[in-house]
């Protein structure tokens, strides 16, 4: 009985993130458009895009291999699993212990790994640009992420997300320097990982400085749809990650009372909204940077993370 | 009597050292050969005296060997060789006579120090003899390293051998086998040298070791 209940809750979580992802992207786009004094596309435009893409044929490059066709599913699966393991409205999900924060980071890493391979598969110059830049960004973003994980894990005494967010919610946390550093670093990493401005521009194609879009240039139809969905999921994942770690309020701990869960969901959606607004504000207020300034940006993130970890190592009071 | 015996032995051995120094002083091959003959004669005398003192008759043989071979045969033979090969009569030295003499003095002093420090309870006769013998050996070696001609090197080598003989005879009651082997080896040594000089004559125009040394396996 309890098992079934937990299963359902886990399922709800998975579906929730899956369904919210396009909406969130649509929301961010809408807000950005508003900030730019445009009306912008309707909120649910991403859903339409998905359906449209899914209906279309796949136009596959002659030189594409079987791997090219498998990768979208791999990427989507990896991202979805990762996203479904991040507590959104309730901690202590049934399978939450099956992967801790390090594993989640690694799952996203494997998604990126395969995406980069896809960029190289067709053998075009744009794909090459995309993946080589992507791995360069990742090679700095991932260690930064690990450092952040270290900091939080050392504060919470665990790399288990449920435990961590529970601890964060508890008054034992207090205000810490290392937490602040970690938060800033995490936001920077999140921006880089999701190819947002100023690292990359998700809204453009024909620009030599693009990264993510260049990788997936050869994709079309359902493959493209899956990859888009995966990237939206990733965005939601990061937002909810930040939320559950730094704004762990309203997350139902382990109970199963429906009202509590509903409250949790509501809180979660509210957090998403806030996050979306902030993201849109940030993106509209800043210009994209040159690709070779990205290392400095991410290097800063890495340094912040390392600094936070060092502080934690040297003394528990920071 | 013993005192006198000691003095005479001392005198002879000392004069041997003196002659070695004389050899160092020479700068003509013929003169060098003559001095070497003198060296051998003094050696023979000293050996004979030892034979008399230790009344060890077998030492007379050694004395005779010294007298015949070293004092006569060898110098004459070398004389011949020099004439035959038309060797340059000068002795090319590495360092000047003065420095060589100084070095010789230093070596004698060293020999004294080493030896006199040693055999305190041994009888003074043997002790003095050893000291002188060592200095003769060192002087012979010095001569070999400061002279360029093959002949003068040979001479240096042989005066070194003389020093050995002096030491051997000074060693009281040392079995005959040794002296004979010494003479024997020197004989062989000399034959071989002769052979080599002739072989070399076939190949080279001079027996100057310096030039000999220019043919070296690595210089291909």
């Amino acid at each position: 009985m309890v098992l079934i209940r937990d299963l359902t809750i886990q399922g709800v979580q998975m579906l929730l993130v899956l369904l919210l992802a396009p909406l969130f992207t649509g929301f961010v786009r809408k807000v950005k458009a508003r900030l730019l004094r445009r009306r912008g596309p309707p909120l649910i435009q991403p859903y339409f895009d998905l359906v449209r893409l899914m209906r279309k044929d796949v136009v596959l490059a002659d030189s594409a291999s079987w791997l090219f066709r498998v990768i979208p599913y791999l990427v989507f699966a990896a991202t979805w699993v990762a996203a479904s393991l991040v507590p959104t409205f309730r901690t202590g999900l049934l399978f939450s212990w099956s992967a801790d924060l390090i594993a989640i980071a690694a799952l996203l890493g494997s998604g990126r790994f395969f995406l980069a391979l896809a960029g190289l598969d067709v053998g075009t110059s744009f794909g090459g640009i995309g993946s080589s830049r992507e791995v360069m960004i990742a090679s700095l973003a991932e260690p930064a992420m690990i450092m952040i994980v270290f900091t939080l894990a050392l504060i919470a005494g665990s790399t288990q997300l449920s435990t961590m967010s529970a601890f964060m919610a508890s008054p034992a946390v207090g205000l810490r320097v290392s937490l602040a550093l970690a938060l800033i670093a995490l936001i920077m990493v999140a921006i880089a990982e999701n190819n947002r401005i100023p690292i990359d521009n998700p809204a453009t194609h024909l620009e030599l400085t693009m990264v993510h879009e260049a990788m997936v240039l050869e994709y079309s139809g359902r493959h493209l749809a899956l990859i888009e969905l995966a990237s939206w999921l990733k965005l939601v994942l990061y937002v909810s990650l930040i939320a559950c770690l730094f704004a762990p309020w309203g997350i139902e701990s382990s109970g199963a009372a429906l009202p509590a869960l509903a409250l949790g969901i509501a809180a979660y959606i509210a957090k998403l909204a806030v996050g979306g607004v902030l993201l849109a504000l940030f993106e509209t207020s800043i210009a994209k940077m040159r690709v070779f300034r990205v290392p400095e940006f991410l290097g800063a993130a890495l340094m912040l993370g390392l600094l936070a970890t060092l502080l934690r190592f040297v003394s528990g009071s920071f | 009597m013993n005192g006198l015996a000691f003095d005479i032995a001392h005198l002879l051995a000392g004069s041997l050292v003196l002659v070695s120094l004389l050899e160092l002083y020479q700068d003509r091959l013929y003169a060098l050969l003559n001095i070497y003959a003198l060296h051998a004669v003094v050696l023979a005398a000293s050996v004979a005296w030892q034979a008399f003192v230790q009344d060890a008759p077998h030492l007379y043989i050694t004395a005779a060997i010294a007298l015949i071979f070293k004092a006569t045969v060898i110098p004459v033979a070398l004389h011949r060789i020099i004439v035959r090969l038309g060797i340059h009569r000068e002795i090319e030295k590495v360092v000047g006579v003065g420095i060589t003499m100084l070095a010789g003095m230093a070596l004698v002093a060293l020999a004294m120090v080493v030896m006199l420090r040693v055999t305190r309870e041994a009888d003074p006769l043997a002790r003095e003899d050893l000291a002188f013998a060592l200095s003769v050996v060192l002087l012979g070696l010095l001569m070999m390293v400061t002279r360029r001609n093959a002949v003068s090197q040979v001479v240096g080598f042989m005066s070194l051998e003389n020093g050995l003989v002096l030491a051997a005879t000074g060693a009281k009651g040392m079995p005959l086998v040794v002296e004979i082997s010494v003479a024997f080896s020197i004989l062989i040594a000399f034959i071989v040298i002769g052979i080599f000089l002739f072989r070399i004559r076939e190949r080279f125009d001079t027996v100057d070791v310096q030039i000999l040394s220019d043919f070296r396996g690595e210089r291909q």
Partner: protein, 669 residues
């Protein structure tokens, strides 16, 4: 019992070597010998596993050979059993691979005889229980592998590689010899048992540690002693490269663990600082070197350097914890290191096999001349992909598990009292994470340029799938990678006796945990379940595919690549290995390798293409080895004049020696 089985197997291998020499010219001798090697190593593997999993009682044995008053002491305990298993697994798959691969060998008579001898050497090293036997087998192993490295001796680079290899190997051996000399003391207590019993002074102990770090490190490839590795490993035939990279370096790790954890006295805290520093530098330098390569096998060799660094990070942490009495954490770190030893031996052999398959069918090691092989050799491409994913530490494969455990061990280290470690360990963690990310980047390059894209040369176009044996060998390893990735608990439990033997504490039994997950400390703290992650990914992936194909379209058209509207560009417009690495080279290489890029543009009226030349400097070589060689050359030249003195001058030497000695006497009293 198991020990004698293993010994018989070693003897059989030596016999096979002799046999191979005797009928070197006979037809099919290669296949015969390799098949026999496979069977023998399989038996030996069975023996090792039986000991590791079932009997678990140390067995000792003394043969009346070796040093007369000592005899050859041999021992099979948990540690040696584990490494014996690693050796035999690698050897078995390599033999299987070689049954097919050996047919392409140009000069088999230079490879076949040494191969079994090499295997025997490695087997004996892990079984040895006294200093003499250990060093004898150790150097024998180096010698036979040297012979294998120079088997293609007509290529001058190979001979040079072998030379440098042999030099570094005997340098390491001499260092180990000195270490044993210290442990054995002046009256020669050479058996390991005696060494365990006698505990030398702390100063001696420190010296022993440094010597062992040099000795085992030069074999394992720790920076800066790694120079031979990227030269020698690629030079050898691929199945041998796999053995050298995947297995022999592990034998070196065995030597380190055996001496430092088992024989030397109790560790002092600063040991781990030395080891961790070296290991951290090794890890990052290794992967950075690898990123700069476009020779496939050399790239793999450099990754061996990186992974050795990861292993030594684990060992260093284990020492740190052990010296502070945190036995549990020490057990965790040690287990992480040993698990990575096992994992690396799996996927590195797999990758070298793949490189070998590519080499045989295309004759190319240079990635710039490859590409698009996934179409011509799909199965090889598939298993190679698994290998790449595993070495890049992607879940749910085995590489991730061991790195995850290492991270967990790092997360335990704030409780270390020493300040040096407090400051060092987080930096090491950062280096580890950095190298993991860079490794992923590097293997995107390796796989993408070699197997994906369009063929860059005729050889790559006409490539064909490799033979059955080679594929079989790679499949075995790939499936083991997956197995060790989704069921890590089994392997961790198998390592428990080792850590309890070396540290006196071991990780909790994992098999009991729910859903076969692994829980190193406590579930509330951290846990990972490869099986579930694998199942989830498979489920959601297939689910998505199913839903889309059912509800939406599953139609597909082939068309020329879009590429932003540039029609059918030539194959040279693809990204090459060099251009792929350019961003990372700009970020890291300019500092580490003083990388310079120069573009020479043709003048306007000239139609020649512009050329981009990249110049790299190897800091280790330029700052350490080149000066050393130069110095030796200078001294040799100076002394060489002594060959050309005249007789008189030689006499002067004698004379001076005499005078000097006499003076010494005169001044003695």
């Amino acid at each position: 019992m198991m020990l004698s089985v293993a010994l018989v197997c070693a003897a059989a291998l030596l016999a096979l070597a002799v046999l191979a020499v005797l009928l070197a010219r006979a037809p099919y001798v290669g296949r015969l010998i390799y098949a026999a090697c496979m069977i023998v190593t399989a038996v030996s593997l069975a023996a090792a596993l039986t000991h590791l999993l079932a009997t678990r009682v140390p067995e000792a044995l003394t043969l009346p050979v070796g040093l007369p008053w000592l005899g050859a002491h041999l021992r099979l305990d948990a540690l040696s059993a584990f490494f014996l298993a690693v050796v035999d697994l690698g050897a078995m798959t390599a033999s299987l691979f070689a049954i097919g691969y050996g047919e392409h060998e140009s000069a088999p008579e230079r490879v076949v005889p040494f191969f079994p001898a090499f295997l025997a050497g490695m087997t004996l090293v892990v079984l040895a229980d006294d200093a003499f036997t250990f060093l004898l087998s150790w150097e024998f192993m180096s010698l036979t592998s040297w012979a294998l490295v120079i088997s293609h001796h007509r290529v001058p680079e190979n001979v040079r590689a072998g030379y440098i290899y042999l030099l570094m190997a005997s340098f390491g051996t001499l260092a180990l010899l000195l270490a044993f000399g210290l442990l054995a003391g002046s009256d020669g207590l050479y058996t390991f048992a005696q060494m365990r019993a006698a505990h030398p002074a702390a100063a001696t102990d420190a010296l022993v540690l440094l010597l062992v770090l040099i000795g085992a490190g030069s074999k394992a490839g720790l920076v800066p002693l790694h120079v031979w590795l990227p030269l020698a490993h690629p030079a050898a035939p691929s199945h041998v490269s796999a053995l050298m990279s995947g297995v022999m370096t592990k034998v070196a790790v065995y030597g380190f663990v055996r001496i430092v954890f088992d024989l030397a006295g109790a560790p002092s805290w600063w040991w781990s600082i030395v080891i961790l520093t070296v290991a951290g530098i090794t890890t990052v330098m290794g992967v950075l070197y690898a990123l700069m390569q476009h020779d496939l096998k050399r790239l793999l060799a450099y990754h061996t350097v990186e992974n050795i660094g990861i292993i030594f990070i684990g060992l260093g942490l284990a020492l740190a914890f052990k010296s502070q009495g945190m036995l549990f954490a020490a057990a965790l770190a040690l287990t992480a290191a040993l698990l990575h030893v096992f994992n690396h031996s799996l996927f590195k052999s797999l990758l070298f096999f793949g490189a070998g398959a590519v080499l045989t069918t295309t004759g190319e090691r240079d990635m710039e001349h490859l590409g698009g092989l996934i179409h011509r050799m799909p199965q090889t491409a598939f298993v190679f992909l698994i290998g790449c994913a595993a070495i890049s530490a992607l879940p749910p494969l085995n590489g991730f598990v061991s790195e995850w455990l290492t991270f967990q061990a790092i997360l335990l280290s704030p409780q270390l009292p020493s300040w040096g470690l407090k400051l060092l360990v987080p930096a090491i963690g950062a280096l580890l994470a950095l190298s993991a990310a860079l490794a992923a980047a590097c293997f995107v390059k390796a796989y993408g340029i070699t197997f994906l894209g369009r063929p860059r040369t005729r050889a790559a176009e006409t490539a064909s799938e490799t033979d059955w044996f080679s594929r079989m060998a790679m499949m075995v390893l790939a499936s083991l990678c997956l197995l060790a990735g989704i069921l890590p608990g089994l392997f961790i439990d198998a390592l428990a006796p080792i850590s309890s033997f070396l540290i006196g504490e071991s990780m909790p039994t994992q098999v009991g945990a729910q859903w076969l997950s692994i829980v190193p400390i406590a579930e509330s703290r951290s846990s990972y379940d490869g099986l579930l992650v694998f199942l989830f990914m498979a489920l959601s992936g297939t689910l998505a595919a199913f839903v889309i194909h059912r509800l939406a379209s599953d139609r597909l058209r082939r068309a020329p690549a879009w590429d932003c509207g540039y029609p059918d560009a030539g194959v040279v417009t693809q990204y090459s290995a060099t251009s792929f690495a350019q961003p990372i080279r700009r970020v890291f290489g300019t500092v580490v390798f003083r990388a310079r890029e120069t573009v020479e543009m043709a003048p306007p009226d000239d139609t020649r293409p512009a050329r981009l030349t990249v110049e790299l400097h190897d800091p280790i070589w330029e700052w350490i080895y080149a000066p050393l060689a130069g110095a030796i050359g200078v001294v040799a030249d100076r002394l060489n004049h002594l060959q050309f003195l005249t007789i008189r001058q030689f006499l002067t030497l004698v004379f001076c020696t005499l005078v000097v000695l006499l003076l010494v006497l005169a001044l003695w009293s």
